[in-house]
């Protein structure tokens, strides 16, 4: 579903590459944790998948297509196939829960009838039944992230990218979010989640790809992650 071939990304020629010759394959229906300290290149990976930036060297394939060959007017179609959530939720503060999720459908031209039918379904999937008319500031952080997830999946993307989605949440709330992401993955969506939260990684027991200074240093099926606060000697 996502394939990186010797991908290098250099933002600034004076500093080290943000990604350094990264090769990686993420299959359909997989759930992958992308772990690593801050600055290791996780967000850069996600930006390259979305074609928000172009790789300096190497090739990025999404659903079999080299994104470098997608003309700019076709990029929106690529992004319709990918949902994204971020640490800071990025909700529209003056729109209700329903309207925030509906917005993602309106802007790609979905009909009112389809929106009215789909949005409540998706809100149910993320565990926000009955909160249609709440405004974002009336929600907890965990609930706001659920709205963001609902918005990311409402157009039924094949891939969901999550960039530190639990970064602003307490451990209990984070586990709730992980359940939602796992459920979405069970429903057939490929999930790539960037995080440096070792508790979550170790609880979920999914594939773990670790980046360090832009290079893949580990790729374990059902792996664990020992964050930078713990000593590396404990690893293994």
């Amino acid at each position: 579903m996502i394939r990186f071939e010797q991908v290098t990304k250099v933002y600034d020629h004076k500093s080290k590459p943000a990604l350094d010759s990264v090769s990686l394959d993420v299959d359909r229906d997989e759930f992958v944790f992308l772990v690593g300290a801050s600055g290791s290149g996780k967000s850069t990976f996600i930006r390259l998948v979305l074609k928000e930036d172009r790789a300096t060297r190497g090739a990025v394939y999404v659903a079999g297509q080299n994104v470098a060959n997608i003309p700019s007017w076709r990029v929106p179609r690529l992004r319709r196939g990918i949902g994204v959530v971020f640490q800071d939720f990025r909700l529209l503060p003056n729109k209700s829960v329903f309207a925030n999720v509906a917005f993602a459908m309106q802007v790609i031209g979905k009909s009112r009838a389809v929106i009215r039918e789909t949005v409540p379904e998706v809100l149910k999937t993320v565990g926000l039944e009955g909160k249609n008319n709440r405004m974002p500031h009336e929600l907890s952080g965990g609930e706001q992230q659920r709205v963001a997830i609902a918005r990311a999946i409402v157009n039924k993307p094949g891939i969901l990218l999550a960039d530190e989605p639990t970064g602003n949440l307490d451990p209990t709330t984070s586990m709730g979010i992980m359940k939602v992401l796992d459920k979405i993955n069970q429903n057939g969506t490929t999930v790539v989640m960037a995080t440096h939260d070792d508790d979550i990684v170790n609880t979920m027991r999914k594939r773990v790809v670790e980046l360090r200074d832009g290079s893949v240093v580990r790729d374990d099926a059902q792996g664990i992650y020992i964050g930078e606060t713990t000593t590396t000697a404990a690893a293994g």
């Binding site: 929106p76 529209l92 993602a104 802007v107």
Partner: protein
């Protein structure tokens, strides 16, 4: 759905940006008013040309007692000379140039003179024998004045050949200058309008960066993302064009009416001429704003 969505975005964008939108309306109003004024002045020149070129004539003035030109050395025009001149005007060689020939006697000249200067005190002092008799020559092509001038200026009995078109050209020259000044102001104001639209769009894009960021991420097309911004500028410019058109209409309707009353023979343009100018103003306003916002968005609203 998409249409309603775009309209909603435009409305909310214009509300958020109301002060800037009002400035764009006002600046496009002023600049388009000057564009329209320049256009109308050109139409006025054309109208006057059409009206007057049929009527203006070349006047061949004949010698009187105190004429000073060389061809009048032998004194006032004689009957033979007058007949010779008339025959020459009606000759086959000149028939391709000359359309009409009318004779104006000294008495008729005095009548015209009194008509034209009805309120002037000098009228009383002038007598018929001080005014020259003349042939009034209408030309097939008014531009070919030189032909008559060359043929008659040294003819015995002819004092001077005068082209009334020269006076008109002078008037047209002044109108032309006025029209160029209006055009110059219009150009400067239009540059101001373009910059203001660019700034407005930039602010608007900034104030809606959350929305557009999300639109990008969920795969909204470039058109859907940019259209509300472009239309916001275009709508403001069209409002400006509408006010400019209204202003020009009022000027023509009331100012033109007054001028036509004061100078009935001048042939002033009427509000009908706006039918030509108004669509051009709307088109120009929309183009200015549209082009300016597209160029701005390319820089400030990456897709």
């Amino acid at each position: 759905m998409r249409f309603a969505f775009v309209l909603g975005e435009i409305a909310s964008g214009m509300r958020r940006n109301l002060v800037m939108v009002v400035s764009v309306v006002l600046v496009t109003f002023i600049s388009l008013t000057f564009v329209g004024a320049a256009g109308l002045l050109q139409l006025q020149i054309n109208q006057m040309k059409g009206y007057w070129y049929d009527r203006v004539q070349v006047a061949v003035f004949l010698c009187v007692e105190n004429s000073t030109s060389e061809s009048c050395a032998s004194g006032p025009v004689t009957d033979e000379q007058r007949s010779a001149i008339e025959a020459k005007l009606n000759s086959p060689e000149l028939s391709t140039y000359v359309d009409t020939v009318e004779y104006e006697s000294q008495d008729q000249a005095l009548v015209h003179f009194r008509e034209q200067l009805a309120n002037s005190p000098i009228v009383e002092a002038v007598t018929a024998d001080q005014l020259p008799e003349s042939f009034r020559v209408g030309l097939v092509d008014p531009e070919k004045y030189e032909v008559i001038s060359e043929a008659f200026s040294s003819e015995p009995g002819v004092d001077i050949v005068s082209d009334q078109r020269e006076y008109l050209e002078e008037i047209f020259g002044y109108i032309n200058i006025a029209s160029l000044v209006a055009l110059g102001i219009a150009v400067v104001m239009s540059v101001g309008a373009i910059l203001l639209v660019a700034t407005t769009i930039r602010l608007s894009a900034f104030s809606r960066r959350r929305e557009t960021g999300i639109m990008r991420l969920v795969g909204a097309s470039k058109a859907i993302i940019q259209l509300p911004f472009v239309l916001e500028g275009v709508i403001a410019a069209i409002l400006g064009a509408a006010i400019a058109s209204g202003t020009l209409w009022a000027v023509l309707r009331y100012g033109g009416e007054w001028l036509s009353r004061e100078y009935p023979q001048m042939g002033f343009i009427s509000t009908q001429e706006l039918l030509l100018v108004v669509p051009a103003l709307f088109l120009l306003g929309a183009l200015l704003a549209g082009a300016s916002s597209l160029l701005t968005l390319r820089r400030y609203l990456k897709v």
